[in-house]
Amino acid sequence: MVVINRGAHAEPGTSLEFKTGNWRSSECPTHIHAKAPCHAACPAGEDQQAWFAWLQEGHVEEAWRELVSANPLPGVTGRVCPHPCETACNRVSIDTPLAIHNVERWLGDEAVSKGWAYPVEAPAEDAPCVAIVGSGPGGLSAAYHCLRNGLRAEIFEALPEAGGLLRSAIPPTRLPRPALDAEIGRLLALPGITLNLRSKLGRDVLLDELKHSHAAVILSPGCGESKEWNVDGAVPTDLHEGLHLLREFMDHGQFPEARRVAVHGGGNTAIDLCRLMKRHGVEQVTLVTASALPGPDTDPNDLINVVPRELEEALEEGIEIVEHATVKRLIMKGSRVTGVEIVALKKLLGTDGRMHRIQFEGTERVVPVDMVIPCIGERVKADGLHNLLNRWHYLDAKDAWSRTDLDNIYAIGDSRGDRGTVAEAIGDGRLAVQAIAANLKGEADPQADDRPEMPAAGLNKVYFGAVKRTVPPKLPVGERTFEAEIEGDIGRLEALREATRCLSCGNCLACDNCWVMCPDNAVIKTAELAKDGSHYLFDLDYCKGCGICAQECPTGFIQMKEDTWHEGD
């Protein structure tokens, strides 16, 4: 019963009895920790936004620990990765992407120099042991993630040194050996990892044995054999294919004599080879690629698959690149090559709905060369794996966890045939081990991270100004040798400064915008971190659903979603 008081006055704050929450027509604000696009794009599974958040607060070691929770080799990927994270970075919509790659490398090197401990514990003595074939980035990642999952790892490497293609195929100008050795060394020294060198599958150890002796087998042999090169007409008897030449050069520092060279292919191996040969004294190096060079209208699917920086440096160094072309025929003088006939080519959609490479008749021309080097990709060496290889000489992995048709056998990295980067191999290793660990515990496969990605349009860019991207030091073309690393270290100050450029896509910045700008006082600030990782709660008893908080959230962490609230909830 209402009792009307004198003059009809009201007692303070009584409006709280009136729940305006039921005014929301359809949507209510929700905290959504969407994937930052860098994270979504990272094959290794790093959450760059998360470790940048640590850096923003000046916690460098925490940033590294966050980073290596997914990728144990930041010193390596920070040098060799084509960094799709930067391509995806939302800062592009304001100025230029974050220099994630450079900061990652700095973090990796910092960890080595400071001797920070990897965030792992020694597995129990009787912990299940996983056999890993190959010590390339995939194998090393798998071994590391075994430790993170409480498993032991035993690596079988055919060569006398660990590292796989990191050692055999990547020139020290991109990945100096001391940096590689230091990071791999620290990783392999972790308790719970056993490394067997010179243990070649099919010769020193058999797959069937491993299947029985170990809880699971991860095959990470890499691609050690070049693909067959199809070209019309005759080929020289001394035809060298690219990977082979590269390895030879790594081991002996020598290339066959040639004045003018044509390289056929479009990957990092091809570019590395071109640059090394040019530096070695070859007058003219021509790369013939079916893909396109980057340009404003270039279809990403058509883009040449090399690290952009490497491509840029190659052009700086005078490599000639013929895009949208293929080698049709070799011009021979006896057993010697005197030229290559190249023809224009493009990937076009066929009537069957698939992409086809179409050569255009009448566009043929001849480039005079002394040597032609096919560098069109590699495939798995069959040793010890005969019955597992498919018709293209790859291992068939059927899911995201890299399972093969055989129980407890996983195939990761380049050997899957659908991979091409160090980061992908590292990601494969992590996922395969997570599946194995779950499997051993009798659990279902781990949930894939199906969070939506935060698009640039989801941010409120008003709150972010333009900031210049860090520019790493670089050796001038004239000073580039075969050993000295071309790109330099950005240093602590630049790394921390670069971190301030991160937009924290989809992550709460605790900027207070929602708390400050709610006309209905329906955002509650909490001292403790709430479950969703922010310091704010929505008081849906009063939220009218105006959407200001979502609109003004700088990072898109607040989004308007379908309302599920009922009064009294």
């Binding site: 209402v2 009307i4 008081n5 009809a8 009201a10 007692e11 303070p12 704050g13 009584t14 409006s15 709280l16 009895e17 009136f18 729940k19 305006t20 005014w23 008003v462 709150y463 972010f464 100004g465 333009a466 900031v467 210049k468 400064r497 301030t500 450029r501 991160c502 937009l503 910045l509 605790a510 900027c511 207070d512 915008n513 708390w515 400050v516 700008m517 709610c518 006309p519 209905d520 006082n521 329906a522 509650i524 600030k525 909490t526 001292a527 709660l537 008081d539 008893d541 009063y542 009218k544 659903g545 105006c546 959407g547 200001i548 979502a550 609109q551 003004e552 700088p554 308007m560």
Partner: protein, 357 residues
């Protein structure tokens, strides 16, 4: 946390009671539950939730921001208008401070009386007077001018949403030129309001009071700084806060802040500070927007957006000229304070953290 805060509140109440000579009473448990998260907010909540403002109301936001840094030792005189109606539907009130509503046009005079009462009783409780643009620019203007002239120790805050919104969007002297309202509708003969927005701040400044300023809900930290500054001044101070009205301006409720921000960025609502009649400070616009960016978001200017209508083009050009005038008159173009100003500015404005301007 709970106990500390409750202890603080009880101590504060005791202090106030001491000051006002009241018999101590326990805090009313009903509305100060102490234990809830809501009661532990690290800010003073003078305007509570549960008020009946529209979704995305700029005025409700502005009033809340003002109260945060003004209260609790204040008393408010509120003119008739949306703010009054949506906060105090009897038997409820959203106010946590002493508050009185009398009439549309007398909040400045009622506040004068309250201030005189405080003086007579030797108390220094600050008096606030609130009014909308109708109650300030128009019907309450005389009372306001009198209050300023008599030099009462009052902070007058005008929540400027540029029309009589409470009665259904009729034009006021604060309505911008060419805006369509229910009493200045756009039609075949007329392009909305025929007259200009009154330059109230200059008129207020001509009273040579210690401090008068404009602010915008889009820049809450700036707004709150101005309130704190005014609170510290012994004498009359005046603040006009640009407060978008989604209903009257005809924009979506979620873009309230964005609309207000663009008003500042295009120069149509200059954010300035005036001390003793002289412009002391302005909020610089780093990147000046065309007025169309601001006007185009709002239905009240919809009739100006037809590039094929020469009348629309003329009015749009006129508004652009008015904005340009403001920019040159107040010298608004420039660097300085980050325009995207929030409470957590250091966390957000990465360019500033990076040392770039």
């Amino acid at each position: 946390m709970t106990t500390t805060d409750n202890t603080k509140r009880v101590a504060r109440l005791a202090e106030l009671r001491e000051k006002f000579g009241r018999h101590p009473v326990e805090p009313q448990e009903k509305h100060y539950q102490g234990g809830s998260q809501r009661d532990r907010q690290p800010r003073f909540c003078g305007l509570e939730s549960g008020h009946r403002a529209c979704q995305g109301c700029g005025e409700a936001l502005a009033a809340r921001l003002v109260m945060e840094c003004a209260g609790p030792d204040v008393m408010v005189a509120n003119a008739t208008g949306c703010l009054e109606v949506f906060t105090t539907p009897w038997p409820q009130t959203a106010w946590q401070v002493p508050w009185i509503h009398s009439l549309f046009e007398n909040s400045a005079a009622v506040a004068s009386g309250m201030e005189a009462a405080m003086k007579a009783k030797g108390k220094n409780t600050k008096i606030l007077a609130f009014g909308g643009d109708g109650g300030t620019y128009d019907i309450g203007f005389q009372a306001l001018s009198g209050m300023l002239e008599r030099y009462h120790n009052i902070l007058y805050v005008c929540y400027d949403n540029e029309a009589y919104m409470n009665t259904g969007i009729q034009r006021s002297s604060s309505t911008p030129h060419a805006a369509s309202t229910t009493t200045s509708p756009a039609g075949a003969e007329r392009m909305g309001k025929r007259h200009l927005k009154k330059d109230l701040l200059s008129i207020i400044a001509a009273h040579h009071i210690p401090y008068s300023a404009s602010a915008s809900v889009a820049y809450p930290a700036d707004l709150q700084r101005k309130v704190r500054y005014a609170m510290g001044i012994e004498g009359p101070t005046f603040l006009v806060v640009h407060s978008p009205c989604p209903l009257g301006w005809k924009h979506d409720s979620h873009v309230t802040i964005e609309v207000a921000r663009r008003a500042v960025e295009c120069g149509l609502f200059p954010v300035v500070e005036v001390e003793r009649g002289a412009v002391a400070n302005v909020m610089p616009i780093r990147e000046v927007r065309p007025v169309a960016d601001y006007l185009g978001m709002q239905g009240r200017f919809g009739h100006l957006m037809d590039p094929n209508d020469p009348r629309a083009v003329e009015e749009l050009t006129h508004l652009q000229a008015l904005a340009d005038y403001n920019i040159s008159h107040y010298n608004l173009r420039g660097e300085g304070e980050d325009p995207a100003d929030t409470a957590g500015i250091t966390l957000v404005a990465r360019d500033r953290a990076a040392g770039e301007s």
